[in-house]
Structure formats: structure tokens, C-alpha cells
């Protein structure tokens, strides 16, 4: 790592340390650091610089973090977006291919920022009142899936909050239902647990429980973290139904089910405020919130500017922990501002082709 990167990382880590317990950071402080990171990336990330120049933006004509050009998430699929030579990467996270054939890659020259970012926000929204919990991961282990950012993050969570006792139940593309049920049954009466799963695996597990007439009643304080594993999947499940089944089969109430929103292209995550609100007895409609080093704008595609009054738009994220790639990422997710965060409404999908028609991409994906 070069000295500039090290110096910048120290500043980012200080920022994280200073605000890890806060809901937000002062605007000027965030702005100052964001612009500094942008300047660093403009200098060192060649493809991002070219992209910025298309938008006629450079560090000299940008004064607010909101103006930093956002790299579309699809850019990670087509371009190398790194501030360092990729041969120096200590970790590469790859995006799961959805309708696209190619996989995107997010290169890291250090994971210190990633780890430092993941832990406090997870604690704040999943474990606000406790430090330890036994974890059950319905996903592949970090060793089995070394390029999955989600598995990596679960490894960090496991070490920090479960003392490494948590187990992974997704192996060779198969969910080990029997083993999971056995382990859950043993833990059922002993201690509160945390189930962490993609929405897809969770649905599969609940289906398994239903067809085998199995259910659990976990100890009070047990909870669930689910993450949107439905991207690009044809089968969609309503979150409402998923959570009501969690109550039915696990005895975990709605308020103890937290949805995580993360992207391979980012180093920080957002979570529902549901559980934290319940525990701190705040009565409000929950929304997705992130740490103070991750900000979000809802962009109106017609104007390219921020929407107002909670109107629907496309989400754009600014993540200070993304020092090694690009600070601003334009997603294809649709949402609107809500509370002090946002509400996720879905994904842009242009293909409204049904019936006998078939699209090129659909065809190429099939063939």
C-alpha cells in the first residue's frame, strides 16, 4: 500500500471510530473526507477518472459530496475500478451474476476498513442490547466461498459476536437442513440465537420445515437477519409472508427480523431500524439506515438530481470505506427517502416481456 492510501485509511478509521456509536456525522466532516477520498481516487483510479471526465467533473470543480460522480454498479462488471494495481489485491469480492453473464469484481488492498465498518453498524441494528449471540448461517462459509462479500462479512460477525462458534449450513450448493434442524433443536432451550440467511435460503428452509411439520420456539431475544437474495431470481417472495412464517416456525416476532441491504460494490451496509426501534422503544415506521460513513441519495432519473419530499427514485450510495475503488456507486435499486434513511422498493427492470415474446438477453441467458 502506498503512503497516501495509508494516510487516508488512518483518517477514515478515525472517522469510523469517532462516529461508530452515532447515527450521523457532521455534514462538513463527512464532506471534507469524501472530497479527499474522491481526489485520491480521481488520481489513482484510471477508469473512474475517465468516467468522471465524461461528466466533466474533477476535484477542482466539485465542492460537495453530493456532486461526486457515481459509478454505475454495472461498471464493476465491465471495468477494473481500483486505486492500486490489482495484483496487489489481498481480496477480491465478486458479484453474483444475475441476468448478466459476467461477474463484477471489487478489489481490496486491505480489509481493515471493511472490517471496521461492518462491526459497529451490525451491532447497532442487530445486537443493540447485547454483545454475544450464537449464530446460524444459512450461507456458505468464508472458506468455501472466498469471493463472496456476504460470506466474508459473516465471518467477521461470527468472530466478533459469536466467538467463532457459529456454523455455516450451505455447502456445495446444498442447504444442510437436517444438521441445521438438529443444531437449532439443541440450542432452542439453551440460549437466544441469531439466524442469518439470504431470503432465498430462508424461504427454502421454511418450506422444508412446513413440509416436514417441524417448528421451533426459540428463547426470547432470538432474532433473524435476512438479506435480499432475490436479485435476478424469478421466484419472488413477499417479505411480509416470509417474516410471518418466521414467527410461525421460529417464534421470532416481526420486530426481531431485520433486513440487511448490502452490495458487493460497497464496503458498508444498511439495516432496517425495526429491532433497534423495538428495543429502544421508539415508535415509528422503520426504514433502512446505515452508519455515519455511508450516505445515500435518491436520484430522480429524469433530472439526475436528488428527489424531494420522499418521491421515488434510484438509489445512489456514498461510502467512505470504499477507499480502494470508488466512493460513489449508482445502483439499479428503486427507493425513496424515509425517516433518516430510505425505503427500498425494488429493482429497476425494464423487461416487461411476457407470453410468447422473448428478449435477446433472455435468449442468450438460456442458450
Amino acid at each position: 500500500m502506498n503512503t497516501d492510501a495509508k494516510a487516508l485509511d488512518r483518517k477514515i478509521l478515525k472517522f469510523i471510530e469517532r462516529h461508530r456509536r452515532n447515527d450521523t456525522a457532521p455534514e462538513s466532516e463527512f464532506n471534507h473526507l469524501a472530497l479527499e477520498i474522491f481526489e485520491y481516487q480521481f488520481k489513482r483510479n484510471e477508469n473512474y477518472r475517465k468516467y468522471c471526465l465524461f461528466e466533466k467533473k474533477n476535484p477542482a470543480n466539485i465542492f460537495s459530496w453530493k456532486e461526486i460522480p457515481a459509478m454505475p454498479a454495472m461498471g464493476f462488471k465491465e471495468l477494473i475500478l481500483s486505486t492500486f494495481p490489482v495484483r496487489e489485491a489481498v481480496k477480491v469480492f465478486k458479484t453474483s451474476g444475475t441476468t448478466e453473464q459476467s461477474h463484477g469484481a471489487h478489489f481490496f488492498d486491505t480489509l481493515r476498513l471493511y472490517d471496521a465498518s461492518a462491526v459497529p453498524v451490525f451491532k447497532k441494528y442487530l445486537l443493540p442490547e447485547r454483545d454475544r449471540i450464537l449464530c446460524f448461517f444459512l450461507m456458505a462459509s468464508p472458506a468455501a466461498s472466498p469471493h463472496s462479500s456476504l460470506s466474508y462479512m459473516m465471518g467477521v460477525i461470527n468472530r466478533r459476536f459469536s466467538g467463532g462458534r457459529g456454523k455455516y449450513y450451505f455447502e456445495n450448493n446444498v442447504l444442510k437442513f437436517k444438521e441445521l434442524c438438529g443444531d437449532l433443536r439443541r440450542a432452542e432451550k439453551k440460549e437466544a440465537i441469531l439466524i442469518l440467511s439470504t431470503a432465498f435460503s430462508l424461504k427454502a428452509f421454511l418450506d422444508y420445515l412446513r413440509s416436514n411439520k417441524i417448528s421451533f420456539r426459540f428463547r426470547q431475544g432470538s432474532r433473524l437477519m435476512e438479506t435480499g437474495g432475490f436479485k435476478g431470481r424469478t421466484k419472488e417472495v413477499s417479505k411480509k409472508r416470509l417474516y410471518s412464517n418466521c414467527e410461525k416456525f421460529f417464534g421470532i416476532a416481526n420486530e426481531y427480523c431485520v433486513s440487511e441491504y448490502g452490495m458487493t460494490e460497497l464496503s458498508s451496509q444498511f439495516y432496517d431500524t425495526t429491532l433497534r426501534d423495538k428495543i429502544s422503544r421508539v415508535k415509528r415506521r422503520s426504514f433502512k439506515a446505515g452508519p455515519p460513513w455511508l450516505r445515500m441519495l435518491v436520484i430522480d432519473p429524469k433530472t439526475g438530481r436528488e428527489t424531494k419530499n420522499g418521491r421515488i427514485g434510484i438509489l445512489r450510495h456514498f461510502d467512505l470505506a470504499n477507499r480502494g475503488s470508488v466512493i460513489a456507486v449508482q445502483t439499479e435499486d428503486v427507493g425513496r427517502a424515509a425517516g433518516k434513511g430510505f425505503e427500498l422498493l425494488g429493482r429497476l427492470s425494464g423487461a416487461d416481456l411476457r407470453g410468447c415474446s422473448l428478449s435477446y438477453e433472455e435468449f442468450l441467458a438460456k442458450s
Binding site: K50, P72, P301, L348, G350, D352, G355, C356, S359, E361
Partner: protein, 423 residues
């Protein structure tokens, strides 16, 4: 309703075929009148629920009912059965001298998809022509306007109307029941849906599925003249626009020859302009999606430019709704951009287009082919060999004649069975 359709199979004799043709033809003439109340009702449905624009909906209804006039229906019967009167009783077949009679299936269950409303109307009309009891399940996502059509039929010919029924689209049990008492199940939809339905069809019941298909435009360089440019662009725009690019006859790409008086890039610009003119009406609820798609497509263009160090092909926005991309190779466009993205592909050698189309194999449906007659004939031969089942002119992709062999098959002839009476 359940009881009524289950008892109908052996009901009183059907009217003669001439009478059926006249009834349906008369009804079509009513539907072609702009002030016909049922037409107005269907228009409201097509705009309000199916998401077509008013202009598009008008054109769609005209295109359906102009085909369903009595002379055209009679011509279809002649084309497929030889003599339509075979459906009434035994008659001498002029070719063999034998006495033969044709019968349609006693009961047909029709299962429709949500993309376009035309097949539902045509399928029921075909069933009526064959004197079959028709049970229809429309899509719960978008029912089209078959119910309105059947309502209007009640006024024109109540006897004919009472042999047609609609099944509750959400009641899977009743659909199963309907399929079990049918002699034929006809289904329209994507391949996965068809496979699922076919599994549920009882042995002994015939099944006919109309699945995924793809259509294209194919313009040879001689068609690209300055004089012809605007007309060709207008016709192409009409092919794309008419059913909002939702059907299997909507062209997925237009292959345009290089070296003509007009370049493929110029053609793309003209097409873009014409699409813009047709799309002056706003799409209901879709302004956001259109803008989002446009902005993401622009992003994509930039990224590809950085990646390939050259422009990724001409691109132009067409009004609010469509985007035309002109390129020589298949662009891996993200899926969000697909539904209103028009690919114009420039080519130098006809063989390259044939090779490109051959990839689509059994999915090939129609090609609008423009060029000199002699060359057109040769290319048509090659396209037929690839599996294309309809070759037409630009501007008529969405207006297939009633006697077109849909998916390369007979329409009525493949549904009937024959009895031969030997002396």
C-alpha cells in the same frame, strides 16, 4: 356456470358453418365502428389495464377485426379444409371422390398469456368456426378483452355466444376440471408455462402450445435508398410500435445492409424519428421507468466507451419511449434496457445475418424482408430452411393474414379430425 359448460358438450346441433361465419363477420364490422359501445369499453381496458396507448389500442383493434370479416373467415376455411361445408355434413371430396366430413374438438380449453390480446380473440373464433365449446382462461395479470368480445357476441348471436365460457383465472381446480373434459387444450405463453400445462393435460387430450418466438427485420442494401428511407423507417416503426413490442411478431432487431444509398446509421436516425412521432402519447405510469432506463443506458454507453476505447455504436433516443442502437455486433445490453431498446445491426454480407439468425433456431417466427424480388426469393429460401415460418414486407409484421401458418402449423386443420365414408 360450472354446470352449464359441463353439460354443453352434447347439446343441440350447431348452426351451419355459413351462419357462424356470417355472425362472426357481422360482429367484426360492428367492432370496426369507432362508436361501437363494446369497442369503446375494450379501448378503456386496453389503455387502463393493459398499458397500451389510446392510439395503439385503436390500431390494435382495427388490425384484429379487419381480419375477422366473413369473406376472410370463409377464405381461411377454404385454405385449410378445402371446403368449409365439410364441417356441416358428409360431402364429396373433389380430389379423391370420397365422401368426407370434418369435426372440430367437442370442447377446447384455451389458456392465454398476458402479453397481447389478439390470440385470445382469434383462438375463440377458430373454436367457434369448428363448432367447439370454448372454455377460456385469461391471464390474471392482464385479462385482455375477451370477456367484452363475448358480451358483444351475445347481442349478435346469443346461440353462438352461449357455447363460450370464461374460467376464473385464479381457480386452478376449475381449470384442471376444464382440461380434463376437453378434447383439445390450446395454450399460449412462455416455454416454462407451456411445459407445466402440458404435464397437466390428461393422456388422450390433444395439446397445442404456442410458445416463445422471435421476429426480425432484414433489409438488403438496395432497399436503403434516399427515396425509400422515410417510408421504410415509418413501416419499421409501425412494426415495432403496434403492440408495444410485446408480441412474438415484434422485431427484436433490424438487420440493415451496408453500402446502400443510405447508411444503417442514417436509417437508425430516421427510425428513431418515426418512433418518436408514434410515441407522442405518454405511457401510463411508465415515465419513471423510461427515464431510468435512458439514464442507465447512457451510463452503459460511457462504460463501454471506456472499456473498448471506442464508441459503442450510434445511439439515439426516440421520443420519450424508445431507444435505437446501431451497431455491427451483438451488444451485451443490460436487461433493464431491453423492452424498448431497438437494435439496428449493420451487415455487409447476407451470410452473416443468416448465421446470426440460425442461432435462434426453433424460436424463429417472422422476418420482414426488403430487397429486390430475385434476391428476396433466394434469401426467403434460406430463411425457410432456418425455420422462419413467415416472411413478409416491412410494415406488415404485426398484421399477419388470417391464413398465416402460425408457428408454421395449420390453424384449423390441425385441430379437426376427419371421418371418411366409403361407398
Amino acid at each position: 356456470m360450472k354446470n352449464s359448460w359441463q353439460n354443453l358438450k352434447h347439446k343441440a346441433a350447431w348452426p351451419p358453418i355459413r351462419s357462424i361465419v356470417n355472425s362472426i363477420g357481422r360482429l367484426s364490422l360492428s367492432w370496426l365502428k369507432k362508436d361501437y359501445p363494446y369497442r369503446k369499453k375494450a379501448l378503456r381496458r386496453l389503455v387502463g389495464q393493459s398499458g397500451f396507448t389510446p392510439k395503439m389500442s385503436e390500431a390494435l383493434l382495427d388490425s384484429i377485426f379487419k381480419q375477422l370479416t366473413a369473406p376472410k373467415l370463409w377464405q381461411l376455411l377454404e385454405a385449410e379444409l378445402g371446403d368449409p361445408l365439410f364441417l356441416d355434413d358428409f360431402r364429396i371430396d373433389k380430389l379423391t371422390g370420397k365422401r368426407i366430413r370434418a369435426r372440430g374438438p367437442g370442447v377446447i380449453t384455451h389458456i392465454f398469456s398476458a402479453n397481447v390480446p389478439n390470440p385470445a380473440i382469434l383462438s375463440f373464433v377458430f373454436g367457434m368456426l369448428l363448432k367447439s365449446v370454448n372454455l377460456g382462461k385469461v391471464s390474471s395479470k392482464d385479462p385482455g378483452f375477451l370477456d367484452i368480445y363475448l358480451e358483444s357476441l351475445k347481442e349478435t348471436d346469443a346461440e353462438l355466444a352461449e357455447r363460450n365460457f370464461l374460467i376464473d383465472p385464479k381457480d386452478r381446480e376449475i381449470l384442471r376440471k376444464a382440461m380434463s373434459i376437453s378434447d383439445l387444450v390450446v395454450a399460449y405463453g412462455n416455454d416454462a408455462t407451456l411445459a407445466r400445462i402440458q404435464k397437466e393435460v390428461s393422456p388422450g387430450v390433444s395439446f397445442m402450445g404456442f410458445g416463445h418466438r422471435m421476429s426480425f427485420g432484414f433489409y438488403l442494401k438496395e432497399a436503403l435508398t434516399k427515396k425509400n428511407l422515410n417510408t421504410l423507417a415509418q413501416k419499421t416503426a409501425k412494426d415495432i410500435w403496434l403492440v408495444d413490442r410485446r408480441g412474438c411478431l415484434s422485431p427484436l432487431a433490424i438487420y440493415v445492409g451496408k453500402g446502400g444509398e443510405v447508411s444503417p446509421g442514417d436509417f437508425s436516425q430516421a427510425l428513431s424519428r418515426e418512433l418518436g412521432k408514434l410515441s407522442v402519447e405518454k405511457w401510463k405510469r411508465q415515465g419513471f421507468a423510461i427515464a431510468a432506463r435512458k439514464s442507465l443506458l447512457e451510463d452503459y454507453q460511457r462504460i463501454m466507451k471506456i472499456k473498448t476505447k471506442r464508441p459503442s455504436g450510434g445511439y439515439s433516443g426516440a421520443g420519450e419511449a424508445w431507444t435505437v442502437v446501431c451497431n455491427e455486433t451483438i451488444l451485451k445490453i443490460p436487461s433493464f434496457a431491453d423492452s424498448r431498446l431497438i437494435h439496428v445491426r449493420a451487415f455487409s454480407d447476407v451470410k452473416d445475418v443468416l448465421k446470426a439468425l440460425s442461432v435462434f433456431g426453433k424460436f424463429l417466427q417472422a422476418v420482414s424482408l426488403e430487397g429486390r424480388s430475385a434476391t428476396r426469393g433466394k434469401i426467403a429460401e434460406a430463411l425457410s430452411g432456418l425455420g422462419v415460418n413467415r416472411i413478409c414486407r416491412a410494415g406488415s409484421l404485426q398484421l399477419p393474414p388470417l391464413h398465416w401458418h402460425h408457428d408454421g402449423k395449420f390453424n384449423l386443420a390441425s385441430w379437426v379430425r376427419w371421418t371418411d365414408l366409403e361407398s
